[in-house]
């Protein structure tokens, strides 16, 4: 379990990094950020890139800012930094709830927010958060910067809308207003494992009724799934057991997860419903507190 031979560059600027990605090469090019997914794949030789572009030196990709109603998290922000950030906690409680569920402290100390999203593991927390919140994923390529809505970003199993010469530079989400609560619920075999299923939920209340519900599910498809039917079922209603059941049933009816060693398809489907009830109930309760 030792990495294969590759070329390696560690550009000092984003421009150089994009240039490196664009340069013709005889093999695959991989962007190395926190490396918590890529380096294990290299060690297992499941990934054998010809060139690695290490973006850890790009200060342009760091920093957490809140401005004009938007929270922007640099792609290279370590997950642990975001986890402990007061700005994140207040502007995006869902992200704050989700991050501690990623791996373990030593993983989050190194792993980056952008890296997890660009890796697009359908069982991972951050892609699910991005899908749930309609995050804007800021990418830079040779042609300049573009913003990709999360709905268009996750295109399949570990695949995204990023072009080969594009780098994810930041994640932008709308800061939460009052009467908004969020929760991330998941079931994993062990603490810190990728979840068999997970649910990100954010609820905004208007009085006692749901003004807006956002729900995304992990682990049940090739990419995070936005539970739009459940969101619609909740809109304008008061959250109680029967509406939670209705929302959960609406969401899972369309799911056709696959089975693996850790959980059967039936299990994932069932548990997705359970987690929707839990996550929406918790998010609604927090929204009530935040009124």
């Amino acid at each position: 379990m030792k990495p294969p031979v590759f070329d390696y560059v560690s550009p000092a600027t984003l421009e150089e990094a994009i240039q490196a990605l664009s340069a013709p090469d005889d093999g695959d090019v991989k962007v190395l950020a926190g490396g918590q997914s890529l380096v294990p794949l290299l060690n297992l030789r499941l990934s054998q890139p010809g060139l690695i572009v290490d973006i850890n030196g790009l200060d342009e990709l760091t920093g957490i800012t809140e401005e004009a109603g938007y929270l922007t998290v640099g792609a290279l922000v370590r997950q642990r930094e975001a986890e402990l950030s007061d700005v994140v906690r207040t502007a995006c409680p869902l992200l704050h709830e989700a991050i501690p569920l990623i791996g373990h402290t030593a993983i989050r100390n190194r792993g980056t927010v952008g890296g997890s999203i660009a890796h697009a593991d359908p069982a991972a927390e951050l892609p699910t958060v991005a899908a749930c919140l309609d995050a804007e994923l800021v990418a830079r390529g040779p042609g300049g910067e573009r913003t990709i809505p999360a709905a268009d970003f996750f295109t399949g199993f570990f695949t995204t809308a990023l072009a080969e010469d594009e780098i994810l530079t930041a994640v932008r989400v709308r800061s939460v207003g009052p009467a908004t609560g969020a929760a991330y619920e998941e079931v994993a075999r062990r603490h810190g494992d990728f979840a068999m299923a997970g649910v990100a939920a954010q609820v905004r209340l208007d009085g006692d009724t749901v003004a807006e519900a956002r729900i995304a599910i992990s682990g049940v498809d090739l990419a995070p799934v936005r539970a739009t039917k459940a969101e619609a079922a909740l809109a304008g209603r008061t959250v109680d057991d029967s509406i939670l059941d209705e929302a959960a049933d609406a969401a899972v009816a369309d799911l056709s997860p696959s089975s693996d060693l850790h959980g059967s398809a039936a299990y994932r489907k069932h548990v997705a419903g359970v987690l929707i009830r839990k996550a929406v109930a918790a998010a609604a309760a927090r929204a009530r507190e935040a009124r």
Binding site: K2, Y8, L32, Q36, N43, D54, T105, I107
Partner: protein
């Protein structure tokens, strides 16, 4: 480029070494610097045996490349005990509580617990209940102990003093 010269400070000592770019930090520490205390239990970031402290944070040394450590400061378990061999308080607390058996996972746990203690010292709130310690140590796998004795040791280390249940011979 297949090799690169890097300068790393390991346990307070500055080292400049040319490494293959594909070399993991763990292999660099173990093979090139001869610091074999950092163990490799899985080489895919799960078991935590290779945990070291980089620029003040616990990180896996098997899931980063040595070239990425250029300019950084690393502490391994070799860097904890005093020059006269006196155990670091974390090591002492673990010894007092008979925390380990075969010792293979031990350096990773020592560094993880050291990392928790350093965070606490730095004024960051570190939950110290046994359940919280178990959660915090969930990234380190031990096959021998069932963790209870390690939690005892970590609890004592975090309390800042070893609650010594042993008897010196």
């Amino acid at each position: 480029m297949k090799t690169r010269e890097i300068t790393v400070t390991v346990n307070g000592r500055k080292r400049t070494v040319t490494v293959e770019v594909r070399r993991t930090l763990a292999d660099f520490l173990r093979e090139d610097l001869g610091l074999t205390a950092t163990h490799l239990g899985c080489e895919h970031g799960v078991c935590g045996a290779c945990t070291v402290v980089v620029d003040g944070h616990t990180e896996r040394s098997c899931t980063q490349l040595a070239v990425q450590a250029d300019g950084r400061e690393i502490t391994t378990v070799e860097g904890l005990a005093g020059p006269d061999g006196e155990l670091h308080p974390v090591q002492q607390a673990l010894r007092d509580n008979h925390s380990f058996q075969c010792g293979f996972c031990t350096p990773g746990f020592v560094m993880s617990i050291y990392g928790m203690c350093e965070e606490k010292k730095a004024g960051r709130s570190v939950p110290c209940s046994r359940a919280a310690i178990r959660e915090e140590l969930s990234g380190n796998i031990c096959r021998c102990t069932g963790y209870q004795s390690i939690v005892d040791g970590a609890e004592a280390a975090l309390a800042g003093a070893g609650s010594d249940t042993g008897k010196d011979a």
